[in-house]
Amino acid sequence: MSINSLGLYNYWIYGFVLVIGLYAVLVKGNYVKRMIGLSIFQGAAFLLYITMDKIEGGTGPIFVTPPQPGDLFANPLPQVLILTAIVVGIAVTALGLAITIRIKEEYGTIEESEIREVDRQA
Amino acid sequence: MSLLEWVAALFLVCGGFFVLVGGVGMLRMPDLYTRMHAASVTETMGTLLIMTGLILIAGWTLASVKLFAILLFLLFTGPVASYAVANTALIAGIKPQLAEDGPQIGGPEVPRP
């Protein structure tokens, strides 16, 4: 049994975690919970890309010894994309959290229903 | 398998046993402080035995030195983290459950005044 017995399990997990993250963004009224859901959604997207790079019998794309023609290496390209995407994701999450802090200071709450109440009365 | 590999396998199995003990203890203990006690078994004995087994398998390579450094860091920070959680719980007002409060296995943790 090798890693390939997992078959398509990675893709099903990716779909499920994506849907969980989107559910948090759409249904929950609390803004911080929505930011957490957005981060979970991003994590699922990372999982899809890194799933694509695995080769059976290969190692990581680092040449510890000079490469022979028969060696198999994992695909380095999705790793490059996700490496930058992780840091950009945290920067965007931090911006979202800063806006949430300002909303709390102005409205006194971070629940969407209560914010609508305050806006309706204003 | 040579003798070294048998000894390493013994260390790994014992380490796994202690991790399992820690996990079962976390579920079965009645109170936050006793659960922290169970968790600290995992991070000391479990870490020590598993890392020793891995170092024996790796032999005299650079990987052994790195594993030893990881072991030192884990032994250093793990108990500090347990202390931090237990101390914060005490300051937050969660009182340890004493024998005269009666049996109360599991259940959610409520801070009592």
């Binding site: 249904v27 911080v32 694509m52 490496l83 945290i90 999450t93 629940e111 | 500090v80």
Partner: protein, 329 residues
């Protein structure tokens, strides 16, 4: 055996995601998110992506949790129970999951060497890196040299997010929400009553900074590079801020200097590109930086990765100081 490990981490990922969304207490939700990120990092390691696992562990399980908890200490602890009626989003999301599930059957199974993704560009990168750039870490070679434009864009996005946070949080809070007189006097700074935490933490901070520098400059030979190193260095400064109080960390790393260093990192990246143009090559074509093209590529990658690490670390430190020094409550 690795199948069992893969199964475990993937399934625990779903459990952690469900627990995160379900918890009412937001601190508990952010801790579950930390566990989710750690499981994601373990999963990346099983799938042979070492750089990405290092970055995800440093960023997701480290920096992200601290930022969430910092924001939560300023906003709210509990989530209110009232939600909108969730049947329409649940229906749409169920349809989405069904579509993704049906589409997954046309994907190549995990590890297939004949998958289309392995056929076109990847063999070119794997075969050309020893010839053109000659560094062992192919991921760093692609990040800094072959796909240098994309990385330049990412660095600028990180810098923009830092500016955004500074501009949003530059409005001071309303007068009636500031601390009262006796509250300021009694406020404990950092964790100064916990001697064990302070000693242990302060012993770890220099080692963490040293490790960040190793990851930064060793990124051509082992997993690492500018992004992970920046996150690790920011994590060291955040640890100092948590232990000694955020005002001390803001004094140690002043906001305006962090802004200047972040701009310097981005300008270093662009500057290397412009120097390449002035020396006769294209923008970000490092071969002209030295008499031998291979040495020029390596010099270019070193400088560019340093620029990336500088910008990422200073932006994350800036964001932490801005959030942690907010004086409401």
């Amino acid at each position: 055996m690795i199948t069992v490990l893969g199964l475990f981490t993937l399934t625990f990922l779903v459990i952690a995601a469900l627990a995160t969304v379900q918890s009412r207490n937001l601190f508990v939700a952010s801790m579950w998110f930390c566990i989710f990120s750690l499981m994601m990092a373990a999963n990346f390691l099983i799938l042979d992506a070492a750089d990405v696992a290092l970055t995800e562990a440093a960023v997701g399980a480290g920096v992200s949790t601290v930022l969430f908890m910092g924001a939560l200490s300023l906003t709210a602890e509990h989530e209110h129970v009232r939600e909108r009626s969730g049947w329409l989003p649940a229906l749409v999301l169920g349809l989405l999951f069904a579509v993704l599930f049906a589409a997954s059957f046309e994907q190549p199974r995990l590890g297939d060497p004949l998958a289309p993704v392995h056929q076109h560009v990847a063999p070119f990168y794997l075969s050309e890196t020893p010839r053109l750039i000659d560094i062992p870490n192919v991921v760093t070679a692609i990040l800094a040299s072959f796909r240098g434009y994309d990385t330049l864009g990412e660095v600028l996005v990180v810098f923009t997010a830092g500016i955004g946070v500074l501009s949003v949080l530059s409005f001071s809070p309303k007068k009636n929400q500031q601390l009262s007189g006796e509250g300021v006097a009694e406020r404990v700074r950092g964790v100064q009553h916990h001697a064990i935490l302070r000693v242990a933490g302060k012993l770890i901070i220099p080692l963490l900074m040293l490790f960040a520098l190793v990851v930064q400059f060793h990124g051509e030979y082992s997993p690492g590079g500018g992004f992970s190193a920046g996150a690790l260095f920011a994590a060291a400064v955040m640890l100092y801020g948590i232990l000694e109080g955020a005002d001390r960390s803001a004094k140690a790393m002043p906001q305006d200097w962090m802004l200047r260093l972040a701009a310097l990192g981005a300008m270093l990246y662009i500057g290397v590109g412009i120097v390449c143009m002035m020396l006769g090559g294209n923008f970000l074509d490092y071969s002209v930086l030295s008499s031998k093209p291979v040495a020029g590529q390596q010099l270019g990658i070193l400088l560019v990765e340093f620029g990336v690490g500088l910008t990422v670390s200073t932006v994350l430190i800036m964001i932490f100081n801005a959030i942690a020094n907010r004086s409401t409550y």
